[in-house]
């Protein structure tokens, strides 16, 4: 198994190089001059413009810019700055914890609510609980996240005052509860339906019938034989979600004013700030890669037939 892990970790190297190279090429191909968004409508002297362009290697071909980027990243250069002159690593260090917390909270809500409700619905399929769950999950899936976000923010934040309506720079877990729930909503619906179908399928499987036939108590049958087998696809979905939750947080972070990584990426892209954009995206790609590795390893725990050698 360790060899498998090492192999997977080694694979991250080409993924990192490839992803950053592609993004550098894309930022390079983007028309417009990022210096123009730095200066607004005001004039700037050619000398100053040139000095700034030199500082960020903007006159070089993107391959050269990319090599400079690699050098800065691999040496953890503290002077590696974005176009705004602020250190990139510091920006990410400031923004990553809140987004990671937000995504993990959303993931926890998604897993707990989704699996519990999905299992109940699967065990009592076609009953009233199942039908109600189906309708609710369809609604949750079809309403855009910003609608849910603004409505919940208005109701629970402004109107009733249960939660602070925005998070801001000094975030706490309690402030993140509402945005995490908003972020989790669409996923909860999918997790529920996935669990429900999986549980329903497994209920009719041969090994479950055997387990029942040999007289195991119903609780043990459900726990050991139904749930365990049903969770393989669910775990895949939830695990891969963490990556997309981090990336998909842009809208939620905007609504609830979370100063996180999504917001950082959004502003960097808008400004054409290549150093920040590329680093943020690289971080997201890496998180995605590591999450899928963890998911793969979890399979072995859930299903002993899966062995990594």
């Amino acid at each position: 198994m360790w060899w498998y892990v090492a192999k997977r970790l080694l694979q991250t190297i080409p993924v990192f190089l490839g992803a950053t190279l592609i993004i550098y090429a894309l930022v390079f191909l983007r028309p417009g001059d990022p210096i123009n968004s730095l200066i607004g409508n005001k004039p700037i002297s050619d000398e100053v413009r040139q000095a700034i362009r030199d500082q960020y290697h903007l006159n070089d071909f993107f391959l050269v810019q990319w090599l400079y980027f690699l050098k800065d990243v691999l040496t953890f250069n503290p002077d590696f700055v974005g176009l705004d002159g602020q250190p990139v690593f510091e920006k990410i260090r400031n923004a990553l914890p809140v987004t990671a917390t937000l995504a993990l909270m959303a993931l926890a809500m998604d897993a707990v609510i989704g699996i519990v409700v999905g299992t109940i619905a699967g065990l009592r399929r076609n009953g009233w609980f199942d039908s109600v769950t189906l309708v609710i999950s369809l609604i949750l899936l079809s309403v855009p996240i910003f609608v849910v976000g603004f409505v919940l923010q208005f109701l629970f934040g402004v109107k009733f005052g249960f939660f602070p309506p925005t998070v801001g720079g000094d975030w706490t877990i309690s402030k993140l509860l509402l945005p995490a729930f908003v972020l989790a909503i669409a996923n909860i619906a999918t997790t529920t339906r996935l669990t429900r179908t999986s549980v329903a399928n497994n209920l009719t499987a041969d090994h479950v019938r055997t387990a029942r036939a040999k007289g195991l108590p119903e609780g043990a049958v459900i726990r050991n034989h139904v749930l365990r087998n049903s969770l393989v696809p669910v775990v895949t979905y939830i695990g891969i979600n963490l990556g997309s939750l981090m990336a998909g947080a842009i809208i939620t972070e905007g609504i609830f004013n979370v100063q996180g990584i999504g917001n950082l990426a959004f502003q960097a892209v808008n400004r054409g700030d290549a150093p920040v954009t590329v680093t943020v995206v690289a971080v997201m790609v890496m998180i995605y890669v590591f999450m899928s590795l963890i998911v793969d390893l979890l399979y072995a725990v859930l299903d002993p037939r899966i062995r990594y050698v």
């Binding site: 968004s37 607004g40 002297s45 100053v48 923010q153 801001g168 000094d170 877990i173 004013n257």
Partner: protein, 550 residues
Amino acid sequence: MRLSRRTRLAGVALIAAGSLTLAACGGGSDDDKKSEGGGGSTDSIISVYGTNPQNPLIPTATNEVGGGDPLDNLFSGLVAYNTDGSVSNEVADSIEANGDSTVWTVKLKDGWKFTDGSPVTAESFVKAWNYGANPANKQLNNYFFYPIKGTDEVGNTEKGSDTVSGLKVLDDTSFSITLKEPESDFPLRLGYSAYMPVPESAYDESGKITKAYGDAPIGNGPYKLTKSGWEKNKQISMEPNPDYKGIHKPKNGGLVFKFYNSTDAAYTDVQSGNLDVLDQVPPSALTTFESDSGVKAYNEPGSSFSSVTIPERLAHFKGEEGELRRAAISMSINRPEITEKIFNNARTPASDFTSPVLDGWTDKVPGNEVLKFNADEAKKKWADADKIAKWDGKFEIAYNNDGAGNKEFSEAMANQIKNTLGIDAAPKAYPTFDELRTVVTDRTIKTAFRTGWQADYPSMLNYLGPIYGTGAGSNDGDYSNKDFDKLIAQAAATKGDDRYKIISEAQTVLLKDLPAIPLWYQNATAVTTTDLKDFEFNWKQKPDYYALTK
């Protein structure tokens, strides 16, 4: 075995989840206590909308509002702006001109100190300005030094020199500024943040302003940074500066610039009392904010000016034909309809090239009837132009899609032109502001395009010279008219109210040539919590932060 391990795991997970919930509750109450604060003293701290500054907080490096608003409160310049746009001497005791307003001698008041205790001297200004003008220092505001002798046409120190030859320190408390051209309203500029003094401690041995200074600037203004100061991604906190001697003495206990990703989130915070002041209402709330009982609303004409620039190099827009076509286009635009329907009256139709908040402004500039919607006259002028040379092709208006309302107004305007003149007119989108600005600055743009101006200091001349003067830095349409240049120079050399008459004449020239078609003045809109008092816009469309109380 396996079962028990999993059971254990589940147990751990349950405990973890439980403690997370507990931590959440604990965190909540702690936090509430902190933000409520210890009673009386914190009540008078005003929280205001801000964005994370894009540059180190150095006066000559900061040119956007995220850093500019905090800087304006941390520094005091030679003059300070009053709420009505007039100026009073601040650090300057006197600013005297010679006979033709080309040499200005500045005397400083005694006893001004930076918050690190060092005195504010003539050197504090001159050294900072030399630093700003030196292109090696990459300061974005260097064009502010352009009027001073010893800089080139964009404000760099002249080649091969580290200092601006027009700046001379006379003694500790006085210095002289020699200008390239006469400029009677030069002192009006000097309250802008690019002209602020910087203490000796800002520079390192090599004479560069340090990163540490940019993170925590030491100024001489009404406020100073608190211990926590600029917390990246979070806020900038400041408290009154006890040594401050100027005219903007803080009436509150401090300011906190809270950073937001969007004005929408900030608006929600004002509604729920978590933010005291939001100085720009988000587009989504423009129809409702004035009737929202949860906030106090403000809406009045402001100082930024919007226009559409039609470069002369476009076919059919030169000479007499061009004049007729420009007038026809201008008269085809129904400004009141657009400002009402699209901007919900958060814009005011323009009647000149400047702004109603300025001293000397009038809506009676001769020739401004060309800015009124008049379909018949527009058709007639267009037909007259066709007699000179037949119109062919398409009239396009370029806009950047990342600004709120740009798409809507460009479409509406194109439609009005199309309907009135019966020509093919259409908006043309550029995704981002910098893409539009790139084709504008390198002159590859083949269409008309939207332009705007936010003045640097409250002077009508700042709306005219830098934009329409021959060869001026922001003259995007390459307009050139000797009469206009002459009138601007004459107005710049004239003291007192006499200059307003000359400025009117200069505007009449513009109204005839229409290098840009004036559209509207952007209103200043704001909301505050209901208990906030003494909110008033200054000429910059910003509240006078020092005066806010609650």
